[in-house]
Symmetry: D2
Subunit: 423 residues, 4 copies
């Protein structure tokens, strides 16, 4: 990961507490029963997320750096290691719902225990050591933020499988009506673009290796595709017309019986969708989301357009100033419609992750860090597609122009959407 | 089911409350998190058991018989129907762990609600109607007792999959040592035996149809097979010697990597087993249990013996007086060793269900009851094997000589064991 | 198997040649390409059948008894052993279609080679040795006849999966029309029946252990169920009405999308079925076949009747003289309608195997032969159902009143049908 | 596909006959039985290949262009269409081994029939029409060549699954010994490279869209990785050391029990490999092949190097003149060792396809042809990796610098190998 210039201890601590408490804020509306299930293998039990992100600090910060630190529980390493072979054996990913114990209250105690020792660590550490700890602590916080987004999407999925369609949190009354914003293709001039993270603040290792990419002229849509537009694709028989589809995409939707985005439900002739605030009528101006890459690509083909590459996305984002977006802090937990008052490119950040037609591969010169941290990103660089820009479940402080998210092409439970490009 | 002579209301109510409260007694040591998972499809979440047995009373007693009864919740029928097609659609069996809601406390409230209305029903019902309700109420209580046994075996399985090996309940100190009782073959004289339930108290429909079966002379072992004897089979290479095994039994243990009974763990050269009281050293004099029919049959072949048929078992039980057994009321939740002071047949009841070499088929003249109750037993009468005698997880008042339990040959999570026969 | 009084050598040889050549007669219409595939795991490639039945003689007759016998090929034991663990490793059952080599002509040469050495053996063997060989030779011939029936059903299945619906053999013109024979329930008096093989000619070990079974009075249908009757069940919604079905039967037909017997095809409003003579219009008077036990049982329930047990079937067959049946020698390879001129029980033998509601379990006192021969039958005695009476693909000389065929309840590719019983 | 300047008719015909007869040359050593099986879904039966490549000409050339052409058989379209949705329904890919009919001789007749009508077509067609037919005819020939390579790899796989390890064709005695050629990293200067097909002869549509790619300086290994080098990786525990592996690569080799390249067999302490000429001792100087992308990548990581991207490969090939390679015409059907007399880059063409770390994605501006031909390549452009350079099973006239082959990362039955790169 990128080197970090150490700020002072109290600033760090404030940031640590802020981010850590956000996890508890997310889990607060849950019943203990909600925190233990795993309705599909991609989803982890919320209790597991809470413990795993804590285990990360215990394993990579407290154990190596806090003298005489005693583990909270000798088995938690086995229970809450996710995928770090370097750290040892662990519960298999698809077995996480077997962990009814420790109960939720023990996991809260675990979090508390680790938090207290992080405070202690930061107080006793000499400056030199602090500089060594800082990047790992920061990585732990970034890691926690990633799990916060997963918590939200996993909670949504867990509740959605329940026939009672439980409400996670009631939304404050929203009286404003969304507007239609016409699609517009914006020109981006080709040429050599510098891709990758250039600053001196934090970034993940997969963003490192600034390199030049030669792009041709292209056009990018001013906003993401809306539910209304996607509905037209559906009504035009888009899901069954093989001409729009990648071969494995067609097999996927056919084998899974998919005929609409995840969470969409037709009721009495109207389309609704399950949200964390309950079942709601579809806002046709809001961005379509919870679709697979396959569906994004099929839609683009149907529309006579294409998806951007991740390099085009990054180039476009350089050409237009970042606008503030709809992030997790809005507490809306659903993407919102484009703003008719914004000219040019909008919705780049927040709202929905945008599927790109770029495989998640290493940048030139990519190297894995030594040890367990080297397993963070590098070993997943195959058969996944890059997404850019963050979503309504992403913390605002977590996103960057160069941020590379990645998922397999069939994944639908994230807030993933579509932005179109044109030659 | 068999016709029941209605006792007076207060007796019924006492019995109703006693049995219903036993379910809560069983679930009392659980965390809410324990009550929602389903680590294999045979296991149901404890919360589901609690709600389903309540749904049975609501659906088959309150709805038809209590005027103006209002359902506790309109969706609970969909959520907690097990397999009654007559009653309507339902959550698929393998999806029961998706039901994180209603939370456990709502299920307790549901139980309370139904209990109160059963009291009301019994108070207001005229005698004639009461006679009509009584058999169904009794069936509901017998049903609840069956789920109590399943609750115990399911809880055991759920906790066993957790690397922490949680303790369900600490056992009172037991200072007595078990004794070795020599195996002895007892002669049973052949002839015509009357099989099936003959009394006027409750029985299940699968016990009805008293019929005569002609048996040849045979011998039955005085007690069930012990852990120590089974260990000899293992040490003699029993699990890998194909000559002892049914073809599909061998495939089963090979494909599943089975080399010992379920819950057995070898540690430092000693065999232990997971129990609801924690990991314990194996008592070599105690009955072996948690084995499949395949293992029971292979053991019998190795020993040069065979399993009994269910008719032989019932005939043997007629020849010897029923002894009291180790039932759920002992709170031991593990089978105990034979008693050296008992001459003749022992351990027939309680301790471990005894696999018989009889397919679970209808008795001659078997007929299904009309409506949903007819789905209780009849539709499962294929490809399952009969077990007899009850176990340490069975309520004492629930078992009978003629009681037919049944499971597929590969099931191991029940307290199932072996009694040998000889020509 | 039962002891056999040795006939003279030339009689034996004649019988040997007759039976062995029948296998080649069956395979004669095949292309080499037909003989190598395995479209489902139950089906074996015809080439494999031809080689395996030859391997049986080589392994159990020539190797132990013919001095200096040299194996035709050192690898054929590995290739063509079916399931005899005692004999050693082998190609897995579901991998039989990988055996494109040896080519068919080599398998013919293998058959020729073994035949010649059997002749040699019979000529040189002393009488004492001959008596020892005889039962195994006979077992080999009975085994070959079993594979002849499987060859026919496997060829039918192989050809049926081909969109060209190839014709195995054109049937001679048949101008006679089938007749409707009214169903009639015939009374069989209860009492003690002797079950099992009593003679001194050949039988399989699973028929041995003559024992007495006590039966109540029952009724048996004069003929098997017809296509026309089964069609009524279908038209009455039989396949979707859960009340008729065993639970696992309903799951089976739903999961497999089964709505009619195997090989039935609806074309332009008329029901046809694929036969070895091509696609033919359904004869409504002919026996229904190619159904699972589940369908047989559901039909019986729909009709308000039940299936016989295997003991009732055997008892009924004792009460009525065996009539000649439609066996493989007729070369029709489809069951034919009942004969209006026959009074009383008919179609007991040949035509279709009759599913009974009896699990395939050992008879009292059943013992496995020592060595590989002991693996012939005994290890399959679980979770299969007994069928009785033989079919239009069974050699006439192969069937007996006491003959116990057995298949899993979901198997449909054999000529299996239904005879009804009534209390 | 690229536009083709039509040569004269007799030249075309000669080329047509040459390529078509090569397919028969490849199939000549096969038994009919070999031509019908499908031991894994990636493999197609040789008979299917022969018919499918013929169907291509019938469907896309004869049907549209030859007046009054009558189909050889009305069902062959259904049987031998591979994946063209535009053309209609078809036998599912994993069901190709059900096609025992038509027999091989009918497929030969089909080939003959189509060949004769192609001759007729070329004779009667006017020049204008000829220009229209020519590109499709050429595509058909290129398509046939692709299936020739698949035929060889599929035949190898089919024979390898047979315990007899049959010999496809005996190799002429080869007395020359291979030499060791030291690995050497060659410098390629970065800069802007033109990627994609630029000529006016045939190419596939996936090569079109010449575009500029900006590359940094890099180094390429002079030859491909040898069996001897790969053996060192194995002996160093390469297959079990997670640090070298992509996460899904490690899961793949663990779940599949893979510990060596496909076809490698250790016998008496020596490594052999199954070849089309029988089992042979491994030549340590020959290129390693029959490995997955995962293994190629893990080897590169172990060696402290990396794989090339497809752009680097094409750039390197531009910098060095193409050398002749070991193609299918050599009839060796195995890759051969590097030539010590060649300085600089060698083994670029023929021998083994070289896995690149480039996803098979569309080039900028890629467009699908209208109609069925548009399904040839475009719909597969996801989750596959590009391979470059051809193999010992590729026809020499088929390969180009810009040729993009592609397979899923787990495929091992092609002649795929490794060339290393260095920053």
């Amino acid at each position: 990961m990128s080197i970090l210039i150490a700020p002072n201890t109290s600033t760090i601590l404030k940031r640590y507490n802020l981010i850590r408490s956000q996890t508890e804020y997310i889990c607060e509306p849950l019943e203990p029963e909600d925190t233990v299930v795993q309705p599909m293998v991609d989803v982890s039990p919320p209790k597991w997320h809470m413990a795993h992100s804590t285990w990360f600090f215990e394993t990579f910060v407290l154990q190596p750096f806090l003298p005489n630190y005693k583990l909270f529980h000798s088995s938690y390493g086995y229970l809450f290691n996710s995928y770090y072979n370097s750290v040892g054996n662990r519960v298999q990913r698809n077995q996480r719902s077997t962990l009814t114990r420790p109960p939720l209250r023990d996991v809260y105690a675990y979090r508390q225990h680790v938090n207290e020792h992080i405070v202690e660590l930061l107080q006793i550490l000499e400056e030199e050591k602090l500089a060594e700890v800082m990047p790992i602590l920061e990585l732990g916080l970034q890691h926690e933020q990633q799990h916060q987004e997963l918590l939200i999407t996993d909670i949504k999925y867990i509740l959605s499988t329940n026939p009672l369609l439980p409400i996670y949190k009631t939304l404050k009354e929203n009286t404003s009506k969304s507007c239609y914003v016409a699609p517009e293709l914006l020109n981006i001039t080709g040429g050599v673009y510098k891709i990758g993270f250039k600053g001196d603040s934090f970034c993940f290792d997969n963003e490192l290796g600034v390199h030049e990419v030669l792009l041709e002229d292209f056009q990018v849509m001013n906003r993401t595709v809306t539910n209304g537009e996607y509905l037209q694709f559906m009504q035009d028989g888009g899901y069954t017309d093989f001409r729009h589809w990648l071969d494995e995409g067609l097999s996927f939707v056919q084998a899974s019986g998919i005929k609409a985005p995840l969470y969409w439900i037709e009721q009495d002739g109207d389309w609704h969708h399950f949200t964390l605030h309950g079942l709601e009528k579809l806002d046709l101006n809001a961005p379509v989301c919870h679709i697979s890459f396959y569906e994004a690509d099929a839609y683009a083909n149907w529309a006579g357009k294409r998806l951007l590459t991740e390099f085009e996305w990054e180039a476009a984002s350089q050409a237009y100033p970042p606008a503030s977006g709809n992030f997790v802090e809005s507490d809306l937990l659903e993407p919102t419609a484009a703003d008719p008052n914004i000219k040019g490119l909008q919705q780049l950040y927040g709202n929905v992750w945008e599927w790109t037609y770029s495989a998640y591969h290493p940048y030139p010169g990519f190297t894995k860090a030594p040890g367990a941290i080297g397993e963070y990103n590098g070993k997943f660089m195959l058969n996944q597609m890059v997404l850019r820009g963050g979503s309504c479940a992403t913390p605002e402080s977590h996103i960057r122009t160069t941020y590379r998210n990645f998922f397999h092409a069939d994944k639908r439970w994230q807030y993933n959407g579509i932005r179109l490009a044109n030659k």
